[in-house]
């Protein structure tokens, strides 16, 4: 049975950091349209700090590794994204516990716990035009694919696809949370920056987390 190791998770984190760096200016432009224009810079500062924190000193257990990612993001990102992404990884780490490896079902359950943490921290619901609109459908798609007996790689691909669709679905939405909400109707017509970076997180997972089964 395939298992997800700390190395797989580390590859995921590195790929996410690479995608954030690559999309830094695009995220900032999206945020300038409906927020305060610092999402790209804040996320890039955070993922850069994460790379520095895990470089050569990455914890050996999956749970400890993602917890370190979470605490680093909380300490460096600021704004709303810091607590939200930080909470996601901290809850993920708590759910993975101390085990040396995790099964795909364990990781799917941990992703669910992470998303629930984000929902609780941000008090956002589906349809509020936030990162929740990308994360929730992604986790659901992952769970459903595993329940239907599909492979771990297929489940991750389904999650990434659902996150991208969820990101696209935020475009016509009117924001009800965060600084974009003060724009009211004027927030419609732009994808949400948080949902966009969350889709990058799932895209990174699809390319890396099933590493052990390749």
């Amino acid at each position: 049975m395939e298992q997800v190791s700390a190395d797989d998770l580390l590859a995921w984190i590195r790929e996410f950091a690479r995608l954030v760096a690559e999309n830094r200016d695009a995220l900032t432009e999206l945020d300038a349209a409906i927020g305060d224009g610092d999402h790209g810079a804040n996320m890039h500062r955070g993922t850069t700090a994460v790379l520095a924190a895990v470089d050569g000193a990455a914890p050996a257990a999956p749970g400890a590794l993602v917890k370190k990612v979470g605490t680093t993001l909380v300490s460096t990102v600021g704004g709303a994204s810091g607590p939200l992404y930080g909470t996601f990884f901290l809850r993920l780490g708590t759910a993975l516990g101390d085990a040396a490896t995790a099964s795909p079902a364990d990781v799917a359950a941990a992703l669910r716990a992470g998303v629930e943490g984000v929902v609780a921290r941000g008090r956002a619901e589906a349809g509020d035009k936030t990162m929740v609109d990308a994360l929730l459908p992604a986790v659901t798609a992952c769970e459903e694919a595993l329940a239907a007996g599909r492979t771990w790689a297929e489940a991750l691909a389904a999650a990434a696809e659902a996150a991208a669709a969820g990101r696209d679905a935020t475009t016509p939405m009117v924001a009800r949370k965060g600084r974009a909400s003060y724009l009211g109707e004027r927030s419609a017509g732009h994808p949400d920056p948080g949902a966009t970076s969350a889709a990058l997180l799932l895209a990174a997972a699809a390319g890396t987390l099933a590493g052990g089964s390749r």
Binding site: V74, S75, T76, G78, R121, R176, K177, G178, Y182, R186
Partner: protein, 333 residues
């Protein structure tokens, strides 16, 4: 961009170093960007911690001192401080009687302070209570937004709750006073120009020579509407009327009137406007028991103003009048 700075990247740490050099009563934790009272922690006294994005000076670092805040956390310009900073500040001022966090209602600020409070309680056992300010009446549809923004009332709350803490009241009592201030205060702001964030280098938004932004936020967020430039007497009415009708304030109410400058408006203009505001308030049958006029909660170099009215009673007035010794507010000592 013309600014009295060295490097845009160093504005926040260099300003903190300046505060420390100018005010021997204060200390700065440079690693955590926290300004705190040199005599902290005070045993048995409730600690007051606030903070937020930089660019609103003198808020919050200029309100640290006897009778007001014990510590203030400085975030990047217009960006909330992170939980580590708030946790460090909470540890610095916890004298065993608990710590009150004063938080302005912005999504990032609320979440970062919330995480810090959880960490403080888990790691140090300190009891933390948070009070969130949300007095900006420019945000009308608070159900479908992140809620009303915390603006001018924050300054009044920090003074009044700070006095209550200085008297040795318990954490719950200080928090009650703070909540009463937020519940009884309302504000409305107006911009004549945009501000320029040092790291950005150009104005946040464009405002024509003949235009004003009514209901603007303190980070240059859009307001209720863009209106033609008007004389001070008309501006006073545009600001005061939505405030009066919101609480609502009634004839005979005693109020504290806080006329705030947003950073780029000279005091002489604030007094021209205060004259008009005072006339409207007394004409509406309000008793203006106290006033505060000056630039205390700014938006960098934005020209503009905000009006805050706070309904007061004998207790709140006596706390307002109590001694305070901070860089920005100083009386009775």
């Amino acid at each position: 961009m013309k600014k009295l700075i060295n490097d845009p990247a160093d504005v926040v740490p260099e300003a903190l170093a300046g505060i420390e050099a100018a005010h021997p009563d204060l200390r700065v934790d440079h690693a955590n960007k926290v300004v705190y009272r040199a005599d902290a922690p005070r045993s048995g006294k409730v600690g007051l911690v606030s903070g937020g994005g930089s660019g609103h000076e003198p808020m919050h670092g200029g309100f640290v001192g006897l009778g007001m805040l014990d510590a203030a956390c400085a975030g990047e310009v217009f960006t909330s401080p992170v939980p580590d900073q708030v946790l460090a500040a909470t540890r610095l001022v916890d004298g065993g009687a608990g710590v009150l966090h004063v938080v302005k209602n912005y999504t990032g600020d609320v979440m970062n302070f919330e995480m810090a409070a959880e960490l403080a309680e888990a790691e140090t056992g300190a009891r933390v209570v948070s009070v969130v300010t949300d007095d900006d009446v420019a945000v009308q549809d608070s159900t479908w937004t992140a809620g009303r923004r915390g603006v001018g009332v924050t300054v009044l709350l920090e003074k009044i709750a700070g006095a209550a803490a200085e008297q040795g009241r318990s954490l719950d009592e200080v928090a009650d006073v703070a909540r009463r201030v937020n519940a009884g205060g309302r504000s409305m702001g107006l911009a004549l120009t945009s501000c320029t964030v040092p790291a950005v280098g150009h104005p946040t938004f464009e405002l024509g020579e003949g235009e004003m932004e009514l209901g603007v936020g303190i980070h240059g967020e859009p307001g209720r509407e863009r209106v033609p430039l008007a004389p001070a007497r008309d501006i006073a009415a545009m600001l005061v009327e939505p405030v009066l009708s919101d609480l609502p304030f009634d004839r005979g109410d005693r109020v504290l009137c806080f006329l705030n400058g947003l950073g780029g408006t000279p005091l002489i203009e604030l007094y021209v406007l205060y004259n008009e505001v005072h006339r409207i308030l007394t004409g509406s049958g309000l008793d203006v028991a106290r006033s505060l006029v000056g630039s205390y909660m700014t938006s960098l170099d934005m020209a503009g103003t905000s009006v805050t009215l706070l309904r007061v009673d004998d207790e709140l007035l006596s706390l307002w009048d109590a001694p305070v010794r901070t860089p920005a507010l100083r009386w009775g000592v």
